[in-house]
Amino acid sequence: MEILLRKAGPTDYPFLAETIINAEKSGGQTLTYTTIFGIAEEKAKDYIIQMLDEEIEHCEFSAEAFLIAESDGKAVGAVCCWIEAADGIASSILKGNLLRHTLPKDNFEKAIRLGPIISELHMEYEAGSIQVGLVYVTEAARGKGLVKRLLDGKISELRTGDQHVYIQVFGNNAAAIRAYEKYGFATVAQKTAIHPEINAYMPSDTKLLMKLNTATGYEPI
């Protein structure tokens, strides 16, 4: 299988939206767009494509943050990484601005009462660090070392010094946690929400912060 790594363009947006939805589900069925905002999956994809189209940099909806793995002209994997607060604004704020700009008002008004429940799981991102938003490989292309190639490629592009590299992952996503550990990430912090309703809205009541051991974990290319 010949693999080409390349930047993402507008024709990739539907695929990127799929990878974002997949990451949001965190290996389960709970989709926060549906549970928090009352938006069905197909409609959520449309909104994600609209947000990618805004070309806002340095957050999880930034097309420039993605690197695509392509085989026979077809996207088979993607990684999303950015430099946190590169322009002085936290990625979670950019994300909030984009969601608010894009989602219908009724949908986020519904979500307002959930603020205190959801924010229990919020973990601060370290300004200047490299944040991995997601890594995704299609089922057919798994087991071929693509997670490593994608991460090596994107981290090499962003890393200019000795920045830390982090990923936040929900505690239920055992397969993802294993893959990140295999690459060289280790859990350095975790947060568990105590609100009894948390599992109705989020894929898990626990979030892990994993940090990459850059001495052994990644091979610059």
């Binding site: 805004e54 704020i93 601005n97 603020g115 959801i118 229990e120 919020h122």
Partner: protein, 79 residues
């Protein structure tokens, strides 16, 4: 409305949105200074500010707000 009047009004919005009765804002305050200022709470905050001042922010304006001082600046330009 001058900057201190805007600040005064924001000082009634912030503690409610973040559920922190003692929270008092300064111009240099950023999201990382306030526990729980995540994307969803940010959406709520911006909506409350718009409602309270009777203004609408553009996406471009929101993405330039590095701290509360920037927010005050943009609010002032719209009143």
């Amino acid at each position: 409305m001058n900057r201190s009047e805007i600040t005064e009004k924001l000082n009634t919005i912030f503690p409610t949105v973040f559920n922190k009765p003692g929270l008092s804002i300064t111009e240099s305050l950023t999201a990382s200074d306030v526990d729980g200022w995540d994307s969803l709470t940010h959406m709520i905050l911006i909506s409350e500010v718009e409602k309270s001042f009777g203004i609408t922010f553009k996406l471009k304006e929101l993405n330039k707000m590095k701290n509360v001082g920037d927010m005050i600046e943009i609010i002032a330009s719209k009143l």
